[in-house]
Amino acid sequence: MNANPFATVKEDVDLSPEVADEVKNTTCYMCACRCGIRVHLKNGKVRYIEGNPDHPVNQGVLCGKGSAGIMQQYSPAKLKKPLLRVGERGSGEFKEIEWDEALELATKWLGDVRARDPGKLAFFTGRDQSQSFTGWWATQYGAHNFAAHGGFCSVNMAAGGLYTLGGAFWEFGEPDWDLTKYFMLFGVAEDHDSNPIKIGLGKMKTRGEAKFVAVNPSRNGYNAIADEWVGVRPGTDGLFVFAIIHELLRAEKIDFASLARYSNAPWLVIDEPGKPDHGLFLRDAKGNPLVWDLTRKKAINAMGPDADAAPAFAGARTVKKRNVVPSFQHLATRYLSDEFSPDAVADTIGVPADTIRRIAAEIAHVAFEEEVVIEQPWTDAWGRKHDKMIGRPVSFHAMRGISAHSNGFHTCRALHILQALLGSVDVPGGWRYKAPFPKPIPPGVRPAGPVANPGEPLAGPPLGFIKSPNDLLVDEAGAPLRIDKAYSWEHPLSLHGMMHMVLHNAANADPYKVDVLFMYMANMAWNSSMNVPGTLDYFTAKDDDGDYKIPKIIYSDAFWSETVPYCDLILPDTTYLERWDCISMLDRPISSAHGAGDSIRQPILKPEGDVRPFQDVLIDLGHRLGLPGMIREDGSATYPGGYVDYMANHERGAGSGIGPLAGWRGKDGTEHGRGAPNPDQIGRYIENGCFWTQNLADEQLYFKPFNRSYLDHAKAMGWIGHADPIVFQLYNEDLQKFRLAAQGHGDKQPPEEHRERIETYFDPLPIWYMPFEEAEVDREQYPLHALSQRPMHMYHSWGSQNAWLRQITSANKLHMHVDTAASFGIDDDDWVWIESRHGRVKGQVKLITGVNPQTVWTWNAIGKRKGAWNLSEDAPEANKGFLLNHIISEVLAPGKNGQRYSNSDPVTGQAAWFDLRVNVTKCAAHEAGFTEPMFEALPREPHAAPNPPVSRYGADLKGTPTGKKADAKAWVGNRHENATNIAGLADGKGNHTKGDAS
């Protein structure tokens, strides 16, 4: 201490403190984006988490959530020990039990069911990143009632894409950020590819050559930086896309050459209404589809090498005595129709017709006048050599703004069809697949039904793709065989199951009761359910004997979420920094358009409490239950080392050489994709930063569905079963098969009550219809659309326990257009009732201009139940934050015969979150200031320590000086892109990669 009060103290700043004792690589799981991270550890605690610059997903960047990982690790809401319910469900009264007891109990419950009827287990795994593993476990158990979260998430996107292009938006494809010149983003706030999208947008905009058009009722986030914001009315994108297609057709701005080669546009469709094969493709004896060759004037094999020379795209003809038309004729007839002209749809969409026409013209101009050419020869699937790669640089990306509507499947297909018409699929500057996509349309796996005998495994995986009514999981009478009614006549293409209906169905014994509900990582008592008040009743409903209608609920969570108190046996999971995980090619890998990749998580911290990784627990349970594949003949465990043992040693099919991880396979680790298990594989992953990637060869980078070299490579890697070209299915025959069934053809026909619905919604070409809720309600009584969006810094419900993230957003408001508010007599910050046909919820408004005037929106999942997450009872999340989920009904209005369908897409079962219609009214003065409904407060987690009044995290992690000095490194965001625009700027190839010029 300097004693002279008049002297200036000069600080000697420690410029080079020791940052860490140790830096470990792993994979982030603050969301499902799967970024690579470097965790700096000091004194056994996390000092700093940064993005791994070498990682293909995030290239060194880290989002807000990822950066807040420290606070997740030290969250007071962490579960610490297995819990067994002692009070009523929902009371939150538990006793702590030992793992042995917990596992014995689970084994008994699960074992009893398996011995009696494994179909009475419902195993649903929420935000699972290990679905290939949990699905395999379900298969071995014999549980056909298995699914993860996709049904309430974005199955419309997956299905729409997989049934049209053999790949999908979601995180399974990406725009060619480096070359695209026109990028349209439909209904995206954040997405699973959050860092890649941000990196891509930043580079694309900095490059400055592309136009970025955002189609979204809201202008936040990504949409704010778009060159043009198209503020459509929710649920109308299909019409918007049709109008663009209408314009392109009228102007003949269609890539016919590409359609002829790579799509089924010229395939001949039988046109004999009333016949059982009406609307199906005419095929030759070998089952090949046919096209009409205009020069040869005969029908030829559509898959043959010369089918694209001169196929007819229009005209009724008779071939093999059948009346046929090219499928394109159907397509063109439909979208050329005046009902889809810009003028006809403008009012419904809420976008001026001139804007639609201009955008169509811009798209056409960029696609057809501004081709990009890469001097790279390649060979197509028919062996024809092309000396360069020519691309139409228009690209699209879409997510839940499209998919979370009950018309989303068709809208998504419409977008893909637009891509195909432009010839911009997997071309330079277009939208590109990520391995293992593209896949055959649809992929070949069919969902397995119930097992014949208890104790047997399923015949195949419980989830798969439906090609015709024959693949449905329904009984003789056409009733659903699955608890969630997936793959039934109600939602035939529900590829991801329908987790959002499980509690409703099980509590109502519709279609039947289950004995045990086993869930993992899904906050079903709160933000992932529609109709939260009703769902809480389903959890607690009792039958006449006073027993719970859902007798037993086992749940694995890592935190004191809203759902934990509603379950019976809690298996506490670790955090993502404490366990092994596997982000597998069999699942949702880390591939990019440049190449395949997968990754792992490694435990870098010791679990704090008496918690166990859920995957390890599943392996353990599998062994205890004696499930095939998890127990050896001598009764010992197949994977005694737990999940990491499985990761390295499991093979999909004995001797297939395909396992959870694709890198460094084979005894010596030299094989990739396929190869014998490698005992050293995990070590190689860790050495490499916990991920594996393999870039495609230059000739494989584009035209993947019909690129010979790529297809052969994909087959060798095990991504596809055969190397035949993948032909875009614009007109979808599989859908037509359902329609035929509804019209009375074939042996599997829908029960009477579903006929009309199947006939309507299984149109082989995209249609548009008003979203169900909008069509059902009185639109004057409920004049507004209500949406939720993801805040970029929060992950669903699990962000709010995070001391840092919750400071950014602790309560959500309802965003409303200023003009709309004025006409409703509402002022900024007013408290309002948001009322739907199902109920009402109270919140505070925020007035803005960047929103479609007929739409209100709020941040998703910020509102919390009092007491949950161990937040204090006066936390703003619980008192001011609100959930729209409370007022979204999980079922539609009763139909003619009382039938109540799920509030979901009729084709895929995708939950229609964004169909919600509301009225907004100012609440009474005494009602202002707090949200409603307000559920009873949950108690704190048993034995939770009191919340600290102050957090001084990091005070003890400050470095000790080393006294060294270095030069500061200059850093220019998007240096490479900037360098192309700004004279004199050094081209550092971007700052985000290792070893660039400093």
């Binding site: 700043v13 947008l201 009228r250 694209d308 840092w804 993230l805 990091g954 490194k969 700004i982």
Partner: protein, 250 residues
């Protein structure tokens, strides 16, 4: 020596923030907090972290604005990160009675010596930009250090020696470098993009620069004209008829 540096070096380290591509993701804010909570001014204390009024120390905060031109009937949404601008005429330094607040001679970084800060808060009153953050628990002022303990840190690999907010920004909206050198890459970027200072009228001469959002491309620069319809028959019947015998794939 009180005041601002008497013999400042020409080096002026600072940030350049591109408002044209910032998507408002808060990554910079959280990563900053994460680095700095064990950094030079550790900790970045959080009060009532799980309670009713959580409020902690952050060196970087991201706002969202709408700029509304009522006359033209246009508006745009802009995300706007705000942190210390390391002003050349930093009023936060000159008001400080203790010398705790100072501007480094060698690179212009404005820092606080929290060991001698008395927590009089005057610097926070003097800063027009709200860049000073009071740690109620410790009773001292804190602020953005420009990651002085990261950018020069020899214990880190070279690619990590940049401010946390900069290396983490997913869109690449943030740049870091010597704005005192007109030939530096950041200065060129600022020149090319008309980078500007905030509230120049406050006379603080900030070092940091913001790059303005670019004009929107909503005119006809993408397409010279609207599409010609090749046929105006009802429901496109004429077109379909034309296509019947035409080889379109050539």
């Amino acid at each position: 020596m009180t005041s601002l540096p008497q013999n400042p070096s020409k080096v002026k380290l600072g940030l350049v923030i591109d408002l044209d591509i910032c998507v408002g993701c808060h990554a910079c804010a959280v990563n900053c907090k994460e680095w700095n909570t064990s950094g030079k001014m550790a900790p970045l204390t959080d009060m009532d972290p799980y309670g009713a009024k959580p409020d902690g120390v952050w060196f970087n905060r991201v706002h969202t604005y709408e700029a509304v031109d009522e006359a033209a009937g246009t508006s745009r949404t802009v995300h706007f990160p705000r942190s210390c601008l390391h002003c050349d005429d930093a009023p936060c330094v000159t008001v400080c009675p203790t010398g705790a607040s100072y501007k480094r001679e060698e690179d212009g970084i404005v820092l606080i010596n929290t060991d001698i800060c008395i927590g009089c808060k005057l610097c926070s009153w003097a800063c027009p930009y709200g860049a000073r953050e009071y740690d109620e628990d410790e009773g001292v002022m804190k602020k953005c250090t420009l990651c002085v303990d990261k950018i020069y840190n020899e214990n880190l690999p070279p690619e990590s020696r940049v401010p946390a907010c900069v290396s983490t920004c997913p869109t690449g909206a943030r740049s870091f470098g010597d704005l005192g050198d007109p030939n530096s890459d950041v200065s060129k970027l600022v020149a090319a993009r008309d980078g500007y200072a905030l509230m120049p009228e406050q006379g603080t001469r900030p070092v940091n620069r913001y790059l303005p959002p670019r004009p929107k491309k909503v005119g006809d620069e993408m397409a010279p004209r609207l599409l010609d319809h090749h046929d105006d028959s009802a429901d496109g019947a004429g077109l379909l008829a034309r296509w019947v015998d035409k080889v379109l794939s050539a």
